[in-house]
């Protein structure tokens, strides 16, 4: 056998291959050429008996021939057996990372609002949004905060440079979402279960305060609502938002628009209330709450002799930061819009 015969062998293979019509034909072809005793095997037998100086060129040619026939056989096999045969490279290619899809990011505030809304939804709380710039009457007067109260001072609350309304007073950047309580009550649709989430503004900015921030305001008004309902609702929120094992407690506090008023604490994420280095005493402050003040109900057109209600209003950003594990140490990141921060959420 010489090099010329090798060329004949490949053309012989190709003309055989053209004649294939069934799986059985293919198998026969495979055995004829690539079987244990097939033509390629025979070539290697010949090769073994060659002299060393002939082996070099002949060996190279046989290998080329072998590769070519094997590749052809793979193609034919795929055609007749309808089965893909993967080469090692094919297999490697599949281990490469998938093609990147541009992710984009929802802001952490949106995620927090979504979490909060979803938790209150099964309790029948309906989301609302009331104006961020509102009249003083809604933000203060109707909330039982008289004009002499410190919250109404120029150094605590932003006012808009505009002439005041005869009835409703100056335009103010609402320092809380509680103006929504009055708007909601004045809709005159009872019972109320409201989850108001809006932007607010306060005249301070530091590591834990922003001039623009969000609050979520819960308001329930119906016959027979008690502090027990407030406690149950906040406990439900705490367990679902912060995790099982978390509990809340109420401490006496003072807000003008609630009576009684409470400061709500949650047990520390780390020690669950036993007291540790982080929390000093086992509890950390979450925010304010209370039973709607009878004067506020009256301003909202609701008879306090028949109806009672509870309310709470907490900072969205602050509450989210207290969720164990977020570790955000400066609230100003929230409105800083550094993409390196935003991409983490």
């Amino acid at each position: 056998m010489d090099l010329g015969e090798l060329k004949n062998l490949i053309s012989e293979f190709k003309s055989d291959a053209k004649r294939l019509s069934s799986v059985a034909d293919f198998e026969e072809l495979r055995l004829k050429y690539a079987g244990k005793k097939g033509k390629i095997a025979q070539l290697f037998d010949v090769f073994a008996k060659l002299k060393a100086e002939e082996k070099k060129e002949f060996g190279k040619k046989i290998n080329e021939l072998k590769n070519e026939i094997e590749l052809e056989l793979v193609d034919l096999q795929e055609k007749f057996l309808n089965k893909k045969v993967e080469s090692p490279l094919d297999k490697f290619l599949k281990t490469l990372p998938g093609q990147k899809i541009e992710a984009g990011h929802l802001h952490i505030i949106t995620q927090a609002i979504r979490d909060i809304t979803e938790i209150f939804k099964p309790l029948g709380f309906v989301r609302t949004r009331y104006p961020e710039i509102d009249f003083e009457w809604f933000a203060f007067e109707a909330l039982n905060i008289p004009s002499t109260h410190p919250a109404r001072d120029e150094w605590e609350t932003f006012f808009v440079d505009a002439p005041p309304d005869k009835k409703y007073g100056r335009l103010v950047i609402t320092p809380h979402t509680s103006n929504g309580q009055i708007h909601e009550m004045l809709k005159n649709e009872l019972p109320i279960r409201m989850l108001g989430i809006s932007r607010c503004g306060r005249r301070q900015e530091d590591i834990s305060h922003l001039q623009t921030f969000f609050q979520f305001e819960g308001l329930a008004v119906d016959k027979g609502i008690s502090i027990s309902h407030l406690k149950g609702t906040l406990d439900y929120f705490a367990k679902n938002f912060f995790g099982p094992g978390r509990e809340i407690r109420l401490r006496p506090y003072d807000f003008r628009f609630t009576e009684p008023s409470f400061e709500v604490d949650i047990n520390c994420a780390l020690c669950l209330g036993k007291g540790c280095k982080l929390c000093k005493g086992g509890w950390v402050e979450l925010g304010g709450a209370g039973m709607v003040h009878p004067n506020v109900l009256k301003y909202g057109g609701i008879d306090p002799a028949t109806y009672t209600g509870f309310a709470f209003g907490w900072g969205v950003e602050r509450t989210y930061m207290m969720k164990s594990g977020t570790k955000i140490d400066d609230i100003r990141h929230m409105f800083g819009n550094d993409l390196r921060f935003l991409e983490q959420f």
Partner: protein, 625 residues
């Protein structure tokens, strides 16, 4: 406001077996938050307590002791009350003070007593130690005693050197703008209009009332005669003045939260007694006590039913009564008389409910979820749509941003609402568009990536005459490193995503640095969303598709014009898609379908001819041959 209360000072009033930690916990859960327990150098525990603004009565050792007297026995601790005797002194009609009060409302109660033969020296150790424990520097016996009473009883008081009051005359009035006074701390203060001051017989200002005394009338080592001065001032005026002057003294902080009207005279006699004991003083005048308001006891109805309703559990009448009595409320029938120190704070049955339930213990109330009727309307559509839009953009690689509602004048846009009392220039005008701040976000993040896409969904603020400003929700998008049509495609796809059939027009702004920006009126988008999609019957006939290439002639011509002409040519044109453009050769894909019968190539040929005809006639657009 936080106050410091030494544990052993409390023992003057309540003897108890409760440990400091017990007291801290009891106060926190039932009355006031004890922030921490500090130890003095001598190892004495001192409570740091946050007092809520409604409880001016508790800004003293006595005030805290009163709470503990009622509270500790309920928690199983012993608490025996050490009654303090009222120390009414002698009255001597010897030295005089001529008092003129310009406006009665400035000083609801004015009281004073003159003492003589005073020996100025150091205070006794217990006074010095206690003042130090509450953070007050000891000065001399007279001044220390006035400070001591402020911390002990919550009644700020002042001592003048009687001989420095020219003409033994006091005119209490409001300041005129620009008047000056040098206060005890040596600072010369220029007064705004309306601050309460006292002028002596020579026309000098000798007191910045309720805030700090004046240097020119202070008690010093040569003082022999003292005017002890104990007042109740208009709380609002004190707060405003103190804030305006930026001088928040312990006295002002107490005056502005209200003073126990009936505690004034006992406090004065208590101070006089201490001065007699520790400064050798003797009474030298009649008691001056001017009442400028009518003070009548206040009665409030005890509504047991309301208490139970608010609590959500039944608290027995006996327990209610016990709690209220413990706190100093006196029963007369169904009503209670409010103790004088709680006069400003308790008005309604609800206020009594709070007193009862906080002492009962909020932690003892059960946790219940709401039952009963649900709200009738939900109106959640807009919130749902917001989330759909945000998620869509997130999946297109956009970063959601939150920027401040207010910004600087340049970014806010013209006609922007102005904040009357801004904190910074960067937060002074309410924005009228989201785009300038979003563009700024991109500029700040240029190093992040070649391509940056951001959006924000938030309100802008538009002034309206005599009305609340309009605060419509806008969707702002700004991108960098994105092709024009690619960006346009996102906004079109966004509208389709929220089921807008006839896409709203929008205007892409091409800004510097290759930024592209669009602002959409989100509320308008929400209005045109298809509420229900009408289903098109499925058709069993085949459509015919073909690509056609046209030549766009020079001149003003837009794609929508071409699109409109083609689509209006025949109702059997099912759809038209832009396929590509090369130079001025525009390739379109057209699909024909007859829903009534199978469309033939002959029919499409007729339609096609008409398309050519119309395009050429109306726009001069010809087929590329």
């Amino acid at each position: 406001m936080n106050i410091l209360i030494p544990h052993n000072w409390l023992q003057d009033y309540v003897k108890t077996d409760a440990k400091p930690a017990d007291i801290a916990k009891a106060l926190s859960l039932h009355a006031f938050s004890v922030e921490k327990i500090i130890e003095t150098a001598g190892g004495e525990p001192v409570y740091e307590i946050e007092i809520t603004p409604n409880r001016g009565d508790a800004l003293s050792v006595l005030g805290i002791a009163r709470e503990l007297r009622a509270l500790l026995p309920r928690l199983g601790f012993k608490a025996s009350w050490q009654e303090r005797k009222n120390k009414i002194g002698r009255v001597v009609d010897k030295l005089k003070l001529d008092v003129q009060i310009e406006e009665k409302s400035l000083v609801p109660r004015f009281s004073a007593l003159i003492l003589e033969d005073v020996q100025i020296k150091d205070s006794p150790d217990f006074i010095k130690r206690r003042l130090e424990a509450v953070g007050q520097r000891a000065l001399n016996n007279i001044i220390d005693i006035t400070n001591y009473l402020m911390f002990d009883w919550g009644q700020p008081m002042h001592a003048f050197d009687y001989d420095k009051i020219k003409g033994a005359k006091m005119i209490l009035r409001q300041s005129k703008k620009g008047e000056k006074i040098t206060t005890l701390d040596g600072v010369e203060r220029k007064l705004p209009e309306g601050v309460i001051v006292i002028e002596d017989g020579d026309g000098h200002l000798i007191d910045l009332c309720g805030i700090m005394g004046a240097k020119n009338s202070e008690v010093d080592e040569n003082t022999k005669r003292v005017l002890l001065f104990v007042q109740v001032y208009d709380p609002v005026l004190i707060r405003k003045s103190s804030m305006a002057l930026g001088h928040r003294t312990e006295a002002a902080l107490r005056f502005e939260k209200g003073i126990d009207f009936e505690g004034v005279i006992p406090a004065l006699w208590e101070a006089a007694d201490l001065m007699k004991r520790y400064a050798n003083a003797r009474e030298a005048s009649k008691l001056i006590d001017i009442l400028n308001v009518k003070y009548a006891a206040k009665e409030v109805l005890v509504d047991y039913e309301k208490i139970n309703l608010v609590a959500g559990v039944e608290i027995s009448k006996k327990e209610v009564n016990e709690i209220l009595r413990g706190l100093g409320f006196e029963f007369s029938g169904q009503k209670v008389k409010v103790p004088s120190w709680r006069y400003d704070d308790v008005d309604l049955s609800e206020d009594l409910a709070e007193e009862v339930i906080r002492f009962y213990g909020y932690y003892k109330l059960p946790d219940k979820l709401l039952t009963g009727n649900l709200p009738k309307k939900t109106n959640q559509g807009l919130f749902f749509l917001e989330l759909v839009v945000k998620l869509f953009l997130k999946h297109q690689g956009f970063f959601e941003c939150y920027t401040n509602s207010a910004t600087n004048q340049a970014l806010a846009g013209s006609g922007a609402l102005k904040i009357a009392n801004p904190l910074t220039e960067e937060f002074k005008y309410f924005r009228t568009s989201l785009l300038p701040q979003l563009s700024e976000v991109i500029e700040k993040n240029l190093g992040y990536s070649d391509q940056i896409k951001v959006f924000e969904l938030a309100s802008v603020y538009l002034a309206k005459k005599n009305e609340l400003p309009a605060q419509p929700l806008k969707l702002g998008l700004v991108v960098r490193g994105m092709k024009f049509l690619e960006f346009k495609g996102v906004i079109e796809a966004l509208q389709k995503e929220i089921r807008i059939k006839n896409l709203l027009n929008f205007n892409i702004r091409e800004q510097k640095d290759g930024l592209l920006a669009v602002e959409l009126d989100f509320e308008e988008l929400a209005r045109v969303v298809e509420r229900a999609i009408a289903y098109q019957p499925l058709c069993n006939f085949n459509s015919i598709k073909e690509d056609l290439t046209f030549i766009i002639p020079p001149g003003e011509i837009t794609y929508p014009q071409i699109e409109k002409i083609i689509l209006e040519t025949d109702k059997r044109i099912l759809r038209l898609d832009f396929k590509g453009i090369y130079k001025n050769f525009l390739t379109l894909a057209i699909e024909y379908l007859d829903t009534a019968k199978q469309i033939s190539s002959g029919q499409t040929q007729e339609i096609r001819k008409e398309i050519f005809n119309q395009l050429e006639k109306q726009l001069g657009v010809k087929l590329k041959l």
